[in-house]
């Protein structure tokens, strides 16, 4: 019997059919403990992106219940979705930084939207930028940074509000192996500080080296769930 109190994310028999009739997820169930590091792997069209959208409450499941921190997601009112999202930091493959703002401003945006006072924001932003090792690039614009540095800025932005969950969608997709590995090390560091980290990836080398829990998806179904797994194709 599971003790639900220790799970930060629970997917209970989740199905999602889009309006065009596409079945993206079909009866997916899994749970993630608070402070866990989990890889979600699978080929294109396996349902990984749908899973992220469901977690961010951008879409609703057709069937099943999603619980975050023990609370049923479907009970969250529309006006409370922003508050809900503040507990989930997100990092994307394409970084999604604002080109017209420097590193500091890009990270500070996450603090501005929740109305953090300036003095506190300055402190928090400087601290998280230092953590990702970009203190010297504070005033640089994204175009002046390498891919790895841009992903670090995106990571800093995702972490500055101290979310309980960090969701990384193909965070190493646009990076060379060296930068990819340094990002994974950073994510591991963040995880060790207590943040639950979920990484959706295609990068088998990274998955194999990290030896963390791996959830494999295929055709909208969960095909494998290994507590210390690798990126094995036979999983799906």
């Amino acid at each position: 019997m599971q003790d639900n109190g220790e799970y930060i994310i629970e997917f209970e028999n989740i199905s999602k059919t889009y309006s065009e009739g596409v079945d993206a997820l079909d009866g997916v169930s899994f749970s993630i403990k608070k402070g866990e590091f989990v890889f979600i792997v699978g080929p294109n069209g396996s349902g990984k992106s749908t899973l992220i959208k469901l977690l961010l409450k951008e879409i609703e499941p057709t069937e099943g219940i999603i619980k975050v921190s023990g609370k049923d997601n479907s009970k969250i009112k529309r006006r409370n979705i922003p508050k809900y999202r503040r507990n989930i930091g997100v990092v994307f493959q394409d970084f999604r930084l604002l080109g017209d703002r420097n590193v500091f401003e890009n990270v500070a945006l996450a603090q501005r939207v929740i109305g953090v006072p300036k003095w506190k924001m300055d402190r928090n932003v400087a601290s998280v930028i230092s953590m990702v090792g970009l203190t010297e690039k504070l005033t640089a614009n994204p175009q002046e940074l390498s891919g790895g540095e841009q992903q670090r800025v995106a990571l800093a932005r995702a972490l500055v509000n101290r979310p309980g969950i960090l969701l990384a969608d193909e965070p190493t997709g646009n990076l060379d192996p060296k930068n990819a590995w340094s990002i994974m090390e950073l994510l591991d560091e963040v995880n060790k500080l207590g943040t639950t980290v979920i990484v959706v990836t295609h990068n088998n080398e990274v998955v194999d080296m990290m030896q963390k829990r791996v959830i494999a998806m295929h055709n909208g179904k969960l095909t494998h769930d290994e507590s210390k797994g690798g990126y094995a194709y036979e999983m799906y």
């Binding site: 999202r85 503040r86 999604r96 939207v113 109305g115 300036k118 509000n161």
Partner: protein, 304 residues
């Protein structure tokens, strides 16, 4: 403190939107300005017309002439009967001498001496003693005339309601035409604000997406666009007000010069009276259009 920070951020971003969409912003401001400028012009016309009509109405009266050789008692009786009517504002007896003096002054002001030589002390209007009756509601004039005509000793009753009625009709016509034009212009203004804000949303779509992901509240995302709309409306209202302010005195003196013959009728409102209404109304309309235009656009394009 938090609200002030959010407001300042919204203001900064709103101004940024305005700069980024310079051309559409100018078009929106131009349309609102044109709309409120016309509104101002029509308001000038309508309120001055109303003012003139009101003036005319109070000066418009009924003149009651008596039969020849009528006794003073009968004149008094007629006066009492008229005074008892509720639509009567005031009644004044004008003796034949007073009528002659007034006529001389009004018509022969420049040649009064010649007139004295011709008529001497004779009064050609000796049978023109009358009552001047003013009404509190000019529309009841015809009813009163009918009543007075039936009174014994009354020879003739002259009303002059046509002037006031004519002015009133023109006033109404101007009002309808201006209302129609203003409604069309307002619709154009809302459409242009819609386009401007849509452009702003398109330009900032990526930023909006990121803000949503990091947990920005709907109000935080919408605030810059609302500020953009309101600023457009405010500037759009201020421009015509300034122009109209400087135009008003010029127009009045121009009309007064050109139509000096009608100086009795052409009585204009003071600029402060006109602007006491025009300023708040124009600002409310401008800001209202800006606000509603941006809210409407966001409902359509910005599901946050």
């Amino acid at each position: 403190m938090r609200c002030i920070n959010v407001l300042l951020y919204g203001l900064k971003q709103g101004m940024k939107n305005i700069r980024q969409n310079g051309l559409f912003t100018l078009a929106s401001i131009g349309t609102i300005s044109a709309c409120l400028f016309l509104f101002g012009i029509f308001y000038f016309i309508v309120c001055n017309f109303q003012y003139m009509v009101k003036n005319a109405e109070t000066s418009v009266g009924v003149t009651v002439f008596f039969d020849e050789g009528i006794s003073e008692d009968t004149i008094e009786e007629i006066g009492n009967s008229i005074r008892s009517r509720e639509e009567v504002l005031d009644i004044k007896f004008v003796s034949a001498d007073e009528a002659w003096e007034k006529f001389k002054k009004d018509v022969f002001a420049d040649s009064e001496n010649e007139l004295s030589e011709t008529f001497g002390s004779d009064n050609p209007l000796r049978d023109s003693a009358s009552y001047e009756v003013h009404l509190n509601d000019v529309s009841k004039q015809s009813g009163l005339i009918k009543y007075i005509k039936k009174l014994d000793g009354v020879r003739e009753v002259k009303g002059s309601a046509e002037t006031a009625r004519g002015l009133g009709n023109i006033n109404r016509l101007v009002g309808y035409v201006s209302a129609a034009i203003i409604i069309i212009l307002l619709a154009v203004a809302v459409f242009l604000i819609n386009t401007t804000v849509s452009m702003g949303i398109a330009v900032r779509r990526e930023e909006i997406g990121i803000m949503k992901l990091v947990g920005a509240a709907d109000s935080f995302i919408r605030l810059p666009f609302i500020i953009e709309g309101v600023v457009i409306g405010l500037v759009g209202a201020a421009i015509p007000l300034v122009i109209l302010y400087f135009m008003y005195s010029g127009i009045i003196s121009f009309i007064a010069d050109k139509f000096s013959v009608l100086s009795d009728i052409l009585v204009f409102l003071d600029i402060s009276d006109v602007f006491a209404v025009l300023v708040p109304v124009s600002i409310a309309v401008g800001v209202g259009i800006g606000f509603l235009g941006s809210v409407w656009t966001m409902r359509k394009h910005l599901r946050v």
